[in-house]
Amino acid sequence: MYEIALIGNPNVGKSSLFNLLTGENVYIGNWPGVTVEKKEGYFDNNYKIIDLPGVYSLSTGAIDEKVTMEYFLKNKPDLVVNIVDATTLDRNLYLTLQLLEMGNNLLMALNKIDLCKLDYKKIKELENILNIKIVPISVKKKVGIEDLKKMIKELCKNKNYVILKYPKLEKYIEEIIDILKEDQNLKEYNLRLLAIKLLENDDYIINIVKDTDIWNKLEKKLNKINEELKKEYNGKNPFEVERLKLIKKIKEIVYDNNEIYVEKDLTYHIDEVLFNGYYGILVVVPLLWMLFTFTFTASKPFMDIIETLINIFSNFIKEIVTNKFLASLLADGIIGGVGAVLVFIPLLLFLYIGISFYEGTGLLARIPILADMYLRKFGLPGKAIIPLILGFGCNVPAILAARTIENEKDRILTIIINPLCSCSARLPIYVLFASAFFSKNQGLVILSLYTLGISLALILSKIFRIVLFKEEPEELTYELPNYHIPSFREIFVNTWERIKHFLRKAGTIILFGSILVWFLTVFGPSGFLGEDVFKNPELIKMSFSAKIGEFLSVIFSPFGWGWKETTALFYGLMAKELVVSSLGILYGVSGDKLLNILTKYFTPVSAYAYMVFTLIYVPCLATLGVIKQELGLKWTIFVMLYLIVLAYFVSLTIFIIGNLIFC
């Protein structure tokens, strides 16, 4: 088996090439320790291709770059396929040179060859300068892919390791490598890459060698070399200077493309409006609405279909299994839990299609630039806009959409405040209470809750930014690809793999949680209560969950909420919309009677406080599951804790102030 690393700048067609090479044989996972997506695929069974994140250079700033750097530090692939955009050759070469500096068996796939004037002779010249093989291809027109495959096989068998050496710098690199060799702990690393990055003063790399025994010796040497280089290169990074010099030379030999020509195409027109300080927002709002409606409204019927099928299946089980306990465990516990996971499939399918479409058209790169002006004030990166908006539909896809944020701190912040965006499952609670207590101003009361949620999200992100992260969100430069309508293949490929990843990772947590909640409902201190517990308020009173509610209601005594209201909140952990149905079960009424009975248990002020509490307190199990999938257990617990505390204090404040004003 040969290992092949595929690497290139963003937007050069790397993913499309990966798909063309591997077809359906793709596995999606995570790079160790981070949530950057790792894609692996195979072709002809014997060739394993690893799709490295798209990077402009080998450095250690953003998380994608760290992943790529770690890969090259610790792995020696049989072949590196460097995909290069022929229309922006000089920019792409920067990465190519870095790959050659550290020494690699490298093959260049020169993409978009149909769009530029490079002829066979020029390509040959480039091959000679760099001493590598180049295959011209066009991913879009599917030209040259077979040649590329042939060349990959050829180079895997007859390797051609190339090390690019800058005459002035080579002796320093060798001196450093000699010192690095002395340490046994560094054996697994690519020492040449370590040495180059040490000479470039890369903090991330320095931290790797700092704890070794050779550090003292190394530091002295580095300081000495740095001083020498400083004189020679006027304080500039010597590698940077050498790279740019070589690129300039290549540019002169290979092509002379100094003309800048702007076509007034659709991209130009839309961008002119989009990036016009005042009017850009007018474009962004409809775009966000489209993504939102597509994800949530269009997927709804399919979610209903899955829900119904699950119900039919669970009723069927109840009929054929005679043992009541077993029937309830299977039907309500396990199948109910599986259903709670499966119901997300249409939602995620639509989300991923929508996001891939926006990504393919070039919109996903642009919307954040505009949002950045507004969100930066609250310590959020521009890319947080899409998770923030999607959060109003459902927090699960919203949190998954945060993956597009490269900077880890920015992503964590975006995710942990997301539950404050009031998802649509909380709407039934607001509607119930608003129609019972504020029937004249329903719309405004509900709107006030949404506004409260988003305001808290923004305020808290500012606070977390200052307290937890202590650094400003990264100001990014974005490449703006031309608008185009992406191909079906581009959109659908990998979508199913991503959903599978969710089912595996978050699904297990949701399933386990559902079974636990089922257990706490049908069991009480006296044992199994029977499946009627889901309809009978007298029975549910004897369950563990009611006991938990009773216990917790002490905390809520200032609000005047009893065990029933608290138990309903407990069921809200499962899914927020369950608060309404469990209140109905606990009071033993439904429909309009529920509205009437609520007025006995709540005052308008305590009802509003209850709505605020359900808005803020712990997100539903599925959201927690997906936070765990993305950020790990530590952050999940943090989110739960801060939300509970916040919910309690905000609703208590509103309760006290409300009572002072109205009573």
């Binding site: 839309i270 002119e272 409006v273 927002i281 709002v285 609405w289 489209m290 019927p301 719309g443 405004l444």
Partner: protein, 119 residues
Amino acid sequence: MMIYIILGAIYILAGILDILKGLFNYPLPKLFLGDIFGGISLLCIGILYILGHKNDSFIITANTLGIGVGIISLIVLISYFIGYILGFKYEPTINIYLILGFLSILYFYKEKISKNIKK
């Protein structure tokens, strides 16, 4: 002809009505959905059309967005229709978003044809 101004005015009017229906439950026909976010979007597109008097980019952008809105509501309609034939409580009806999208497509073709004639 100032068709784009008329189109813009229709978008703005539809947007405001849909927002009103969403916020205060105005008794409007089923053509309107009461979608506040959607109403704001229509309003934005309408303003972009009207700004078309400044330069063509605004009209082109507004029109592209209008067509996008139409396509999205068509997808929703199809999906509701699937739900409806399977016996769920969905009413796949023509709504204002679909109509406006259709108007934008018409405008797109009209412009395209008139440009071709000029050439």
